[in-house]
Symmetry: C2
Subunit: 228 residues, 2 copies
């Protein structure tokens, strides 16, 4: 038996391409021989740390991205919908509170990452499907409730997410991503024979599969498998 | 018999991702039911017209791109090698002469695009495999010779490529790309039921295949087909 390859996925729920990458990796954790590590981090800190600018600031690129996301949403089976004001949602309101909250959920969760996975997904659903807020405590609580957390778990996470401990934990995760050379999200780091191989974006899975010696079955592997 | 889908590929030989996209489309013209139109254009004009900046100007992005290109080169079977001074090659010397020359070859070629295809490939090979100049007339002539053009064809193309007619033709192709919403190259435009669908980059072929109802067999379809 070969040991599982460790794969980290760095993401931020403000980023729609991160949602695509996150869902693909969550699906393949049950298909490939991998151990997946969810790494919630802060995209704003990546952009600042790497001196990068959000791609949506170039008008032709923004228009293309919206079209691209519509097509990818259908092909990936991820229900992306443009918020009514993408600039406000992504750049003015942002995701700092949301990612601190996810970090708090991760800090408290023992024996797995089901809660982190579900809370992240529900936050994406709020901003990128339902055009809802992800900055207010009530919004975070609602996402956590839909994710199946108990009232007491939610209460504890809401107490914790503004603490220095959690702020530092999110900063450290973001710094880890920068140390791997991140300039945007999603970023997937495959640890192969002790060497990290970094893949940016949600369009390198076929290449990644080739590099780690696994088979790419498209973004919906269970659907593909059912067809075979 | 269904009529062939028209697919245009806009490219510039200064762009390594364009080389990947160009080779994939040239391979698939014999695999998919498509009519491929090669559209040499000027990436510098796209960047200026779209208000975009080359991605390589962000250090982390530049480092990632070099790594990404090394991995993709092997996976796509395209012999990309970083020039000794990528900034000089891409941004200082650039590709205006080279793309005018390709345009002149296209203007003169009758009954097909074999010469345009081969000359483009030889120019890419010079800048992106052999670290050679693509700005001097002697460099253009050498690429054309390797591409199999006759001495008289080369002589005529060298007379033509600085003419107003050719400068305007390249400007028009670049403007066509901008009108389709380009902000970089390669850009592939699929004409489906009279409606253009634009795909940017060399990482949307699987999605493109899905959209045009064809099967994606990876970047080296003949190799994949041989394996099946």
């Amino acid at each position: 038996m070969t040991s599982k390859k460790v794969i980290e996925v760095f993401y931020d729920v403000v980023s729609p391409y991160s949602w695509l990458g996150f869902e693909v990796m969550c699906r393949y954790r049950h298909v490939w021989n991998i151990e997946l590590k969810l790494r919630p981090a802060f995209l704003g800190g990546i952009m600042q740390g790497a001196g990068n600018k959000p791609p949506g600031l170039v008008p032709n690129k923004f228009m293309y991205m919206m079209k691209d996301l519509t097509r990818l949403s259908e092909y990936f089976g991820v229900p992306l919908q443009k918020p009514s004001d993408p600039f406000e949602a992504m750049f003015q309101k942002g995701s700092l509170s949301a990612m601190r909250f996810v970090t708090a959920v991760q800090e408290r969760e023992k024996g797995g990452d089901k809660q982190v996975e579900q809370v992240s997904r529900e936050l994406w659903r709020r901003i990128w499907t339902e055009d809802k807020d992800i900055t207010e405590p009530a919004s975070l609580a609602e996402a956590a409730m839909k994710a199946g957390l108990s009232d007491s778990d939610i209460e504890e996470a809401l107490k914790l997410y503004t603490s220095k401990e959690i702020k530092d934990k999110l900063k450290n995760a973001t710094q880890d991503a920068l140390n791997h050379g991140a300039f945007g999200f999603p970023m997937v780091v495959c640890h192969l024979n002790g060497k990290p191989e970094m893949f940016f974006g949600s369009d390198r899975f076929e290449l990644m599969a080739h590099c780690i010696g696994e088979k790419w079955l498209g973004p919906q592997p269970n659907k593909s498998a059912a067809k075979l």
